[in-house]
């Protein structure tokens, strides 16, 4: 029986290590993929919520709404001569 050469053992070791590393990275990639997928869903929900809030904000800031509230509170447009310029 011939003697097993050391470089062969090293080679097998390196190949096995590379294989394990390859599998590990794939597993990690899959794990991260799931996480990203979940985060993407959360992000989409938040973006949707954000957009809804922007629309609500725009509706609340609508000039016609502000005018109605101002009128209800008794505000009036300044008449001519009632606008005062302030010089610092």
């Amino acid at each position: 029986m011939s003697k097993i050469k050391p470089y062969l053992i090293i080679m097998i070791f390196i190949i096995s290590l590379t294989g394990i590393f390859y599998v590990w990275t794939n597993m990690e990639s899959m794990k991260l993929g799931y996480e990203i997928s979940k985060l993407e869903t959360i992000k989409a929900k938040l973006v949707h919520k954000n957009k809804k809030l922007l629309i609500v904000k725009a509706s609340l800031a609508s000039p016609s709404r502000i005018y109605k509230i101002a009128k209800k509170l008794g505000f009036i447009y300044p008449k001519e001569g009632e606008v005062v310029m302030i010089h610092e």
Partner: protein, 666 residues
């Protein structure tokens, strides 16, 4: 023995090798089939198992005002869809769904009985309803997100913006004209999922933005737009006009700052209005402008050297016979007058004579020069180029009629653009409504720049015309547009309307218009208001349209921080330092309280002894406004109030004589 064994071994080896060879060959052939011949279909099958193609429905771009105020946006809304072939217990499912969706049971059942794989049950439902339906867990019922266009300001700028149909395609206005830009690109994305169908990895970051439509910024100032719509609506309702529109333009650039139409509609529910409500009259409707045409024709005549501001023209006391027709002045008559007065009092007879003096060719030239017979190309839907007969078909009196605005039919957009040219020193600017187009990443793809089409009149003629138009507001037909702090220049117009059935003018139906710019010397705003067929108050542009311009100018100048000139400062404005700011604020507060009749304890006091501002009121409304104050009222004249002996806001003594003077507008 040994020999026999050897032969047997050989045979056995041969058999084994043959078997290995046969099976190996078969394997190779199978592998060849799988790898080469069946490969494409097998690859497809594998793809279908591990990959899913999802389509990113592009989000429609937003529309913003000049300052970034949101005017139109899209949001995903849940819709309920059914695959009738998958639903097992149709009656049970239908009953549950009809309750939650608030649809009749028969209707739901009929939809569930369809021989289809997809049908909508309800397109727009609330999140709560969608969640409840999802919780029912009915196989074959799915929640589908679909974009819905939303206009947060409701009817503001509706005629310009237009609206979007159920399939996310623009159907009118900016939404239709720029549909391709706003709509974005549909893109497909391949995602990997595992055996349970869970998504593993989406290689498509940023794809949402990539598919998002571009955003459009308009030149519209939202605050100006609102006050324009508000006062146009108020006045048009009071005058019982069939339709009306108003446009505000920055005369230096040609940017459209506001564009309002009456009657209004809400684009969120556009289908509930008749199609005539959707039309943007300011750009699509041609109308004979009447006297608002005079400044343009008279400027041309002055530029040609046909007349000068001090040229004397005979007003023929309101009736001028010419080649079989009689030209009348409306409501009043004039003797001899100069060109300044022609514009100030809007004399048709005089304008007719100037037109005849200019001749057909020069008049036609000036109509074209002011841009009346070409499309303005402002970026709006349905822009009309105006209508006029070719000059070869004009009658002998054609130039006479054209000179006071009967003959050529123009659009509001054309007229405001021409008015801006008078306001800015004689330069005809290209009107525009698109400020910029920005992609989803924020990069500007297009930015509008002011563009001079041509110089129409020189500075001398321009100054002369501006002065004439100043006289109109100062003491002429446009006095209802007078402001205390600012000098306004304008021109009134009352155009006749042609009956499409007879081809003749209606006897009592008019187009009442008023155009003006402010401040007089360095105009920052040009505005046009046109009312179609006003039936109440008056049919004169100076009576029903000028007040809209006045009310809008008053507020718009404050909004845009355009301050009165130096003289007005000295008269009206208190120049203060920050130290006495509190005193000033208290002063203003007291002033407002006084005008609202509120005493120091914030309690409303009786307004029996305070004189209201009655300027511009009719006799009936003036008496109504001071009803209960004092019975000792003397009325002189008829028409609209131009004088009251007691100043507004001052106390009326017991039994003090009140003198109110009225006069007709023209």
């Amino acid at each position: 023995m040994n020999k026999i064994w050897k032969t047997t071994m050989k045979v056995r080896i041969l058999i084994v090798f043959s078997l290995i060879f046969i099976f190996g060959g078969m394997l190779l052939i199978k592998a060849f089939y799988l790898q080469v011949i069946d490969a494409p279909s097998l690859r497809k099958m594998a793809d279908a198992q591990f990959h899913t193609i999802i389509y990113f429905t592009p989000k429609r771009g937003n529309i913003y005002s000049a300052n970034g105020g949101l005017l139109a946006t899209s949001i995903d809304v849940d819709g309920i869809a059914a695959d009738p072939l998958m639903i097992k217990h149709k009656y049970k499912a239908g009953k549950e769904l009809s309750q939650l969706l608030n649809i009749k049971l028969e209707k739901v059942i009929s939809k569930l009985n369809l021989n289809l794989q997809f049908t909508w049950l309800k397109r727009k439902v609330s999140n709560k309803t969608a969640d409840k339906i999802e919780n029912l867990g009915i196989d074959g019922i799915s929640i589908v997100k679909q974009p819905v266009r939303y206009y947060p300001d409701g009817d503001i700028l509706a005629h310009v913006l237009g609206f979007v149909g159920i399939n996310d395609n623009g159907l009118s206005g900016i939404e239709y004209k720029y549909n391709k830009i706003l709509k974005g690109n549909k893109k497909a994305l391949k995602i990997i999922h595992d055996g349970l169908g869970q998504d593993i990895f989406i290689r498509g970051f940023g794809l949402e933005k990539e598919t998002h439509g571009d955003n459009i910024y308009l030149t519209i100032n939202k605050k100006l737009q609102y006050i324009t719509e508000h006062y146009l609506d108020k006045e048009a309702k009071a005058a019982d006009s069939r339709g009306a529109f108003a446009i505000i333009m920055n005369p230096d650039t040609g940017a459209i700052l506001a564009m309002a139409d009456y009657p209004a509609f809400n684009p969120n529910y556009y289908w509930t209005y008749k199609p005539r409500y959707w039309r943007n009259r300011a750009v699509t409707d041609d109308f004979e402008p009447g006297s608002t045409m005079k400044p343009f024709i008279i400027s041309g005549a002055m530029q040609d050297g046909v007349i000068k501001p001090d040229t004397i023209v005979n007003g023929h006391h309101g009736a001028y016979y010419l080649d079989g027709i009689t030209v009348h002045d409306v409501g009043t008559s004039f003797g001899h007058m100069n060109i300044n007065q022609l514009i100030e009092y809007s004399c048709n007879v005089c304008a007719c004579q100037v037109g005849m003096k200019m001749g057909k060719q020069r008049l036609w030239y000036w109509l074209n020069r002011w841009g009346f017979l070409v499309k303005p190309h402002a970026g709006l839907l349905g822009e009309s180029s105006g209508i006029d007969r070719p000059v070869s078909r004009w009658s002998q009196v054609g130039p006479c009629e054209e000179a006071f605005g009967q003959g050529a039919a123009i659009t509001g957009l054309q007229e405001i653009t021409a008015l801006s040219a008078i306001a800015n020193g004689g330069f005809l600017m290209k009107p525009y409504i698109i400020k910029k187009i920005v992609n989803p990443y924020g990069r500007a793809l297009f930015i509008s720049k002011p563009k001079v089409i041509r110089r129409v009149i020189n500075l001398k003629t321009d100054r002369e015309m501006k002065y004439m138009m100043r006289l109109v507001v100062k003491g002429g037909t446009g006095q209802y547009c007078k402001l205390i702090d600012y000098k306004v220049s304008g021109k009134t117009g009352t155009g006749q309307i042609t009956d499409p059935k007879t081809g003749k003018y209606y006897k009592n139906l008019y187009t009442a218009s008023f155009m003006a710019f402010v401040p007089y010397k360095h105009p920052k705003l040009a505005m046009l208001v046109v009312q179609e067929k006003p039936l109440k108050i008056s049919y004169y542009g100076g009576a029903v349209s000028a007040p809209v311009v006045r009310e809008v100018f008053k507020r718009a100048l404050n909004i845009l921080n355009i301050f009165p000139g130096q003289k007005a400062y000295k008269k009206q404005i208190h120049i203060m330092t920050l130290n006495n700011l509190q005193n000033a604020v208290n002063g203003i507060k007291n002033n407002i309280n006084k005008k609202n009749n509120i005493n120091k304890n914030n309690k409303k006091i009786s307004n029996v002894d305070i004189m209201p501002d009655l300027h511009g009121d009719t006799i009936i409304s003036a008496i109504k406004n001071i009803k209960g104050h004092n019975k000792n009222i003397t009325i002189k004249g008829t028409g609209f109030l131009y004088y009251q002996n007691i100043k507004p806001g001052t106390k009326i003594k017991k039994n003090q004589a009140i003198l109110l003077k009225f006069k007709p507008l023209l």
